[in-house]
C-alpha cells in the first residue's frame, strides 16, 4: 500500500469513527461539518498525521473543538422505540444529564467500542481517569433511567 493509499484508508476510517463518536460531544447537527474540518486538516497535514500513534484520538479532539463553535450542548435524537424497543426512551435525556466528560467517556467506550487508551488520547486524560469517569457516568445513567429503588 502506498503512502497515499494509506492516508486515504486512515481518513476513511477516521470519518466513520468520528461520525459515530462525535454526536455525544457536539450533537448530531454539528457532527458532519466538525468531521469535515478535522479530516481536511488531517489531509493537509497527512505526512504528520501518518506518524501519530493514535490519529483518531487526535482528530476527535480537533473535531470536538470545531463542533463546539457551533453548539453548546449536544442534541441527541429521541430513541426510535419502534426500531429499538430494547432501548430505554429516557437514555438520551440521561446522557444529556451527564457532565460532558462523563458523557464522552461513556459514549466512546460503550457506544463506540473505543479502548481506554484511545479514549484517554481523545480526551487528553489518563486511562485511569477514563475508568473513573466511566464508572461515574454509568452509575448516573442507571440512576437517572431507573431510579434508586431499582439499583443493582
Amino acid at each position: 500500500m502506498t503512502d497515499g493509499q494509506a492516508i486515504h484508508v486512515l481518513l476513511e476510517e477516521a470519518d466513520r469513527r468520528l461520525r459515530r463518536a462525535l454526536p455525544a460531544a457536539v450533537g448530531v447537527e454539528a457532527t458532519p461539518d466538525a468531521v469535515a474540518e478535522a479530516l481536511a486538516w488531517a489531509w493537509e497535514h497527512r505526512e504528520r498525521v501518518a506518524t501519530f500513534a493514535n490519529p483518531h484520538g487526535y482528530l476527535y479532539r480537533m473535531a470536538v473543538n470545531a463542533g463546539r463553535r457551533r453548539r453548546r450542548e449536544p442534541d441527541l435524537p429521541p430513541v426510535d422505540t419502534v426500531r429499538l424497543p430494547e432501548v430505554e426512551p429516557g437514555l438520551p435525556a440521561a446522557l444529556a444529564s451527564l457532565s460532558p466528560m462523563q458523557r464522552q467517556v461513556v459514549w466512546l467506550v460503550h457506544a463506540c467500542d473505543w479502548t481506554y487508551g484511545e479514549t484517554a488520547e481523545a480526551l487528553d486524560i489518563t486511562a485511569s481517569a477514563v475508568g473513573t469517569h466511566l464508572t461515574r457516568g454509568m452509575t448516573r445513567l442507571r440512576t437517572s433511567i431507573i431510579g434508586d429503588e431499582d439499583h443493582g
Partner: protein, 593 residues
C-alpha cells in the same frame, strides 16, 4: 433494565444513521479559514463555560498530541474496525454457575474450550479425582466427560491446547515423598469435540509446565532441568537437550510446584526460558529447532526468587518475579529492560501474567490484579480465593474461570469473574490494604482514614469515586495474613462512619471512614508550613487531599526539625480533591556531622 452497554451501542447505531452523509475522504472544507479565525473564540468559550471546559481540551490544536497517555510499551492495539475491538473488560458480569455433576474437590484443571469450560481432576481429602465435566456456555448445561486414562494422583493437572479443540493433559505421579523418589508425568490427550481421550506415552520426567507451540505442532513440557518436546502428530516425547546452565533453589517438597521452576514461553519462533537463581541472577535462554539452547542474557534482581511467570507482549517476553519486579526481554536483540514493579500489595501465591486478546497485559496474584497502563500498573482487588484460568469469558471478554471451593469447603462452584473491574479500586495511596467494593456499582466516595488504634502497618488511604452503596466488602492483608469481611454501611451523606474489618482469631479493628459527595470538587490547598507533619496531614486530609512526606536534613538543633518546611503545591493553589500535596519536613542532621 436490559444491559445498558448494549443499549448504548444500539442507540449509537441510530444516532450514527441520523448524522447523515458526512463527506467521505479528505476535501478542503469551506470553513477552514473560519476555524482558525475562531481560535480566540474557542479560548473564550473554554474560559467562561465551566461545564464545557474539560480539563484536557486542546484549545491549541496545533500542539503535538499529549504525551501523557503515550505508553513506553503500548499494548493497546490500534483498532481499525470498531466492531472488532472488544469493549473493555467490564461487560462480562460475575457469575456463579454452580458445581455441576462433579463431587467436591480442589485444584481441578479448568480450561476454556471453544464451547465452554472444562473441569477435570482435582483432589479431595488426599484422594485424586479422575472425572470431569464440561459446561456448555450456549446451553448452560453440564455434561460428564468420558473416563480418563490418567491416574488418580493428587497433583493439579496441567494442560496445553493441541489441534483444533484438543488438550494435552498431564498429571504428576510420584512414588514417594522423599527427595529423590522417582516421579514422572502421565499424559493423555482429550478431544473436546468428540469427548474422547487418547493415551500417550508417559513423559520421562516430572512436568512443571506445558507450553504450546502450534507452529511446530508440538507442546513443550518444562521440567526441573530439561525441556522436552511432545510431537502432537507422532505422539512422541523428544528431548530438546539440556539447558546451558541452571541454578535451582533447593526445595524439600515433592511434587514439583510450578512456582519454583523456570518460566518458559513460546514466542512463535523460539522458546524463551528464564530460570530461578539463588543469587538473583537469572539466565535467559532461547531454544530454536536449528540452534538449540543458547544463553542470550541475564535478568538481575539481586533477590532469590521462587516464582516466575512470563508472557509474550508485543514481541518481548515479560517476566514477573516473586518480588513483583517485571523485566522485558527482546529475543531479537537480546536486550533486557526493567519495567515498573508491581505494587507491594501482592504477597500471596505465584504471579500469573497474561496478555489479553485486546492487547492489555494483566498480572494476577491474590489478592489483586494489576493492569499495565503503559508506564505503570493499575491495581484491582481480586475477589476469588483460588485463581483459575484467565481466558475469554462470556461474549469473548477476558475473565477468570475458577472452579473453587466455598468458605466451608463443602461445595464447588464454577464462576467467571470479569477481569478486571473498573472503579472498584480507584487508587491505593499508601499501604498494603485493598478495599473491594460491593457488587453494586453505586458506591460512595470513601476516604479510609487512619485507624483510631494501632494495628501494625497501617495508615491507608483509599479513594474511590462512586456513589455510596449499602454494602462494602473489605479485603485486606497485613504481613502474611489475609482476610475479608462484609461491612454494612447504613447511612449516606457527608459524615463519618465506623466499620470493622478483621478476620477470625484476631480482634477486629475499627476504622473511620468519611463519605464525601462532591467528586468534582476542587480544593484550595491550605498552608501547612510550620505545622508538625501529623497536623499537616490532618489538615490536608480534611480537605480531601493526601499528604506525601519528604524529608530534608536541617542542622542539628534547628527549630524546624519535625516541622513542615515547604509544601508543593503552594498554599491557595486549587487542585482536584484527592490530589497529593508534598510536604517537606525537617530532619535533624547527625550531631557529629
Amino acid at each position: 433494565m436490559a444491559d445498558l452497554e448494549r443499549q448504548l451501542r444500539r442507540y449509537a447505531d441510530q444516532v450514527e444513521g441520523a448524522v447523515g452523509s458526512a463527506p467521505s475522504g479528505p476535501r478542503r472544507p469551506l470553513r477552514r479559514a473560519a476555524w482558525f479565525a475562531g481560535a480566540a473564540a474557542i479560548v473564550v468559550v473554554v474560559a467562561i463555560g465551566a461545564v464545557l471546559a474539560l480539563s484536557g481540551d486542546a484549545a491549541d490544536v496545533e500542539t503535538e498530541p499529549s504525551a501523557t497517555t503515550t505508553p513506553a510499551v503500548d499494548p493497546a492495539p490500534s483498532s481499525t474496525t470498531t466492531t472488532s475491538v472488544a469493549a473493555p473488560m467490564f461487560a462480562t458480569p460475575d457469575a456463579a454457575i454452580g458445581a455441576g455433576p462433579l463431587s467436591v474437590r480442589e485444584r481441578a484443571l479448568v480450561v476454556r474450550t471453544s464451547a465452554g469450560v472444562l473441569v477435570w481432576g482435582g483432589s479431595e481429602g488426599g484422594v485424586g479425582r479422575v472425572d470431569g465435566a464440561v459446561y456448555d456456555l450456549a446451553s448452560g448445561e453440564w455434561s460428564a466427560m468420558a473416563a480418563s486414562p490418567l491416574p488418580a494422583t493428587v497433583s493439579q493437572p496441567l494442560a496445553a491446547p493441541v489441534g483444533d479443540d484438543g488438550w494435552l493433559i498431564t498429571r504428576l505421579v510420584t512414588t514417594g515423598p522423599a527427595d529423590g523418589d522417582p516421579s514422572w508425568s502421565a499424559a493423555a490427550t482429550y478431544d473436546a469435540a468428540s469427548d474422547e481421550w487418547s493415551a500417550v506415552p508417559d513423559a520421562p520426567f516430572a512436568i512443571a509446565d506445558l507450553v504450546a507451540a502450534p507452529e511446530l505442532d508440538a507442546v513443550f513440557a518444562i521440567g526441573r532441568d530439561e525441556v522436552v518436546r511432545f510431537d502432537v502428530g507422532a505422539s512422541e516425547w523428544e528431548s530438546t537437550g539440556p539447558f546451558d546452565e541452571w541454578e535451582f533453589i533447593e526445595q524439600d517438597v515433592i511434587p514439583v510446584d510450578p512456582a519454583v521452576d523456570p518460566a518458559v514461553v513460546w514466542t512463535g519462533r523460539e522458546l524463551v526460558a528464564v530460570a530461578g537463581a539463588i543469587d538473583g541472577t537469572f539466565p535467559v535462554q532461547t531454544w530454536t529447532p536449528d540452534d538449540g539452547w543458547v544463553t542470550r542474557g541475564t535478568i538481575e534482581t539481586g533477590v532469590s526468587q521462587v516464582a516466575l511467570d512470563a508472557e509474550v507482549v508485543d514481541g518481548e517476553v515479560w517476566v514477573v518475579g516473586y518480588d513483583m519486579t517485571v523485566h522485558a526481554f527482546d529475543p531479537q536483540s537480546g536486550a533486557v529492560r526493567e519495567l515498573s514493579s508491581l505494587p507491594i500489595l501482592f504477597q500471596e501465591g505465584s504471579p500469573e501474567i497474561s496478555a489479553l486478546a485486546d492487547g492489555r497485559v494483566v498480572v494476577a496474584r491474590w489478592p489483586g490484579v494489576a493492569v499495565w497502563t503503559g508506564d505503570g500498573w493499575e491495581v484491582e482487588p481480586m475477589r476469588w480465593q483460588q485463581a483459575g484460568t484467565i481466558a475469554p469469558g462470556v461474549d469473548g471478554q477476558p475473565a477468570v474461570w475458577s472452579y473453587s471451593l466455598d468458605d466451608t469447603g463443602a461445595t464447588n462452584s464454577l464462576s467467571v469473574v470479569a477481569l478486571p473491574r473498573p472503579g472498584r479500586l480507584a487508587e491505593v495511596l499508601v499501604g498494603p490494604i485493598a478495599i473491594t467494593l460491593g457488587p453494586d456499582e453505586s458506591i460512595g466516595r470513601l476516604e479510609l482514614l487512619p485507624p483510631e488504634r494501632e494495628f501494625g502497618e497501617r495508615g491507608i488511604w483509599l479513594r474511590i469515586d462512586h456513589a455510596l452503596t449499602t454494602e462494602l466488602s473489605c479485603s485486606f492483608f497485613h504481613g502474611g495474613d489475609a482476610g475479608s469481611a462484609t461491612l454494612p454501611v447504613v447511612t449516606v451523606g457527608d459524615q463519618e462512619l465506623e466499620y470493622a474489618c478483621g478476620w477470625a482469631g484476631v480482634d477486629p479493628f475499627v476504622d473511620r471512614m468519611r463519605t464525601v459527595f462532591d467528586p468534582e470538587a476542587v480544593a484550595a490547598v491550605q498552608s501547612v508550613v510550620g505545622l508538625y507533619f501529623d497536623q499537616a496531614e490532618a489538615t490536608l486530609r480534611n480537605q480531601g487531599l493526601v499528604a506525601v512526606v519528604e524529608f530534608r536534613v536541617v542542622p542539628f538543633g534547628d527549630p524546624r526539625v519535625g516541622l513542615v518546611i515547604e509544601q508543593h503545591p503552594a498554599a491557595f493553589a486549587e487542585v482536584p480533591v484527592g490530589s497529593e500535596v508534598v510536604v517537606v519536613v525537617g530532619e535533624a542532621a547527625d550531631p557529629e556531622e
